[in-house]
Amino acid sequence: MSARSTIVIERWTRESRVALAVAALAAVLLAFGPAWLSANSVDRLTTLFIYVILAVMWNALVGYCGLVSIGQQAFFGLGAYFAVRLADSGVSVYLSLFLAAIIVGALSLPLSALMLRLKGGEFAIGMWVVSELAHLIVNLDTLINGETGTSLIALNAYATDLRRALTYWCAFAAMAGLLAVVFFLLRGPIGAAIQAIRDNEQAAESIGVRVTRAKRTIFVLAAFGAALAGALWVATAVTFQPKTYFSPQWTAYMIFMALVGGLGTFEGAILGAVVFFAIEAWFGAFGVWYLVGLGAAALVFALALPRGLWGWVEDKTALRLLPVGYRVRFLGAHTAANAPPSERNTA
């Protein structure tokens, strides 16, 4: 038997086609959310959408690109700040949410030239310093009133129900849009490039991967996404207190979501956001112990299950719901065997 006749390389499977159809159906149902959901559910789903954005963006940066940042709250806080700033200077409030993210994305481009030269832990804490610096600079703006903060007053122009629905749609559109961008980016040449960089940067460079360009694309995308999440958060919370937005706690949440869901798996980040959302709803009232639990979970997952819950499911079952890689299937005597673990994540 020649190798050609016994091996099939495939991306879409029956399960993943079903999963895509279910996801599309869910998207349509969610798009009309404010029409059939209670006010409370709409608010909670808006929060969930923002969590999904944070998890997916952090996962793209860390799980696919191998860049652990402890400073993504810099972009989260700056997104919220620019939204407040733009709305204050007369820009329509919902437009200013997206404009703020674009500004932060543009700012992250020159920053990437400096930060992306750092490796590992140096990059991680270097980004943390950047977020501290961003926090201090934002505090210098008299509009913010230092740590007292300010509010997104322009939101008062909208009636409560309309505001709730508009914020929901903005968050939904942002989530769906960013998920689609990441999905197609990972399936394309950039996806293959960044995963090669994550696994071995020198080797990737030696076979002609443009390391800097690929890293920069993901860095800017992650900054844009975190900024959009921050801007959306200020639209739901209304108040902007710099200390809350520039807190490393946001990064702790992102780490938890991406690690527990599954670092480096597309579905895992979404699963992680849902798990985090549920845990927060059930245990958030425990305060300090809840945070201890989040930290401990991050520690245990990093050591024992670095590919998270979804990574574990993938390894056990070779199940791919929203495939961003390819997989190899053996025919003939091996029909029963799906992709062996060594073939996983072949992009």
Partner: protein
């Protein structure tokens, strides 16, 4: 003269930064791991000293006799339980696991001690405010001088230990190539556990000085990590005397910044860090390229 005083105070502040950066820098140079729980562990040591002083009337200096070995044991345990396993997972895992650990430590401290800020200053008598007047404008605090002296002694001691003892040579050899040292009869696991213990002993000392010269609370660790990291990067990561230099540069920048505006303290510190980073990454490379260019005739 006020200006000179700012610089003098900055240099003395740099002594503290060198002290807190010492353990971080040492661990990075030996194990290639940046421990994100570094600051939180310093705060843990500070609380241990506070409990000894507050409940059992043990002077902080005497308390160190118990806390330094205890932190060293924690360091060895940390190496075995977390760092060693993390390092095997590549560059990513140590960052994630030690950050998770710092969240656990911070919040457990908060659970135990609440949000009150504490200080060891009340337990060290007049050392906390006594000073020598040099001129009318310049005074050198005794505690600040002691901090600086401790930093120099600790950094010098570690340097001597690494260069001139059997154990120091084993640590350096393990840092170079932990597989090969196994062939010549060095137990790399034990050496790394020892190195982590030394790093944590220095963390205990820096926690003591932090708590004596200022106040602390359960979430103060993050800022200490950042200061330590900045000092280490400005001085050139992995070099012990560079760490002292980096600490002093950071301290002077903050001190001068603070004299300009209230926010200037932190702004100048972080700004100096970024400038140092920029110089290291671009000018450092430029220097290399220049050398290569000169060395290779066209």
């Amino acid at each position: 003269m006020i200006f000179i005083n700012q610089i003098v105070q900055g240099v003395l502040l740099g002594g503290y930064y060198a002290l807190i950066a010492c353990g971080l820098s040492f661990m990075f140079s030996v194990m290639r791991i940046i421990n994100l729980a570094h600051g939180s562990l310093a705060i843990l040591a500070a609380y241990a000293l506070f409990v000894l002083a507050d409940r059992y009337d043990v002077s902080p200096f005497l308390g160190l006799v118990a806390v330094v070995p205890a932190m060293a044991l924690i360091g060895a345990g940390l190496q075995r339980a977390v760092l060693e396993r993390s390092a095997r997972g590549g560059l990513l895992v140590p960052v994630l696991s030690t950050f998770g650990l710092s969240i656990v430590i911070d919040n457990l401290l908060f659970q135990q001690f609440g949000a009150d800020t504490r200080s060891l200053a009340p337990y060290i008598g007049d050392l906390s405010y006594d000073s020598w007047s040099i001129t009318d404008d310049i005074a050198i605090g005794k505690l600040a001088a002691l901090t600086m002296a401790t930093a120099v002694a600790l950094l010098g001691g570690i340097q001597l230990f690494l260069n001139h003892t059997q154990l120091g040579r084993m640590i350096r050899a393990t840092a170079e190539d932990s597989d090969t040292v196994g062939l010549v009869g060095v137990n790399a696991r034990r050496v790394n556990a020892l190195a982590a213990a030394i790093a944590m002993a220095t963390v205990a000392i820096s926690g003591a000085f932090l708590a004596m010269r200022a106040t602390f609370d359960p979430y103060a660790g993050a800022l200490q990590l950042i200061f330590a990291f900045e000092a280490a990067v400005i001085g050139g990561a992995g070099s012990l005397w560079g760490t002292l230099f980096g600490g002093i540069v950071l301290g002077v920048a903050q001190s001068l910044g603070a004299s300009v505006s209230p926010q200037g303290f932190f702004l100048a510190g972080h700004g100096t860090f970024l400038v140092a980073l920029f110089l290291r990454l671009y000018i450092g490379d430029f220097g290399q390229r220049l050398r290569r260019f000169v060395g290779k005739p066209a």
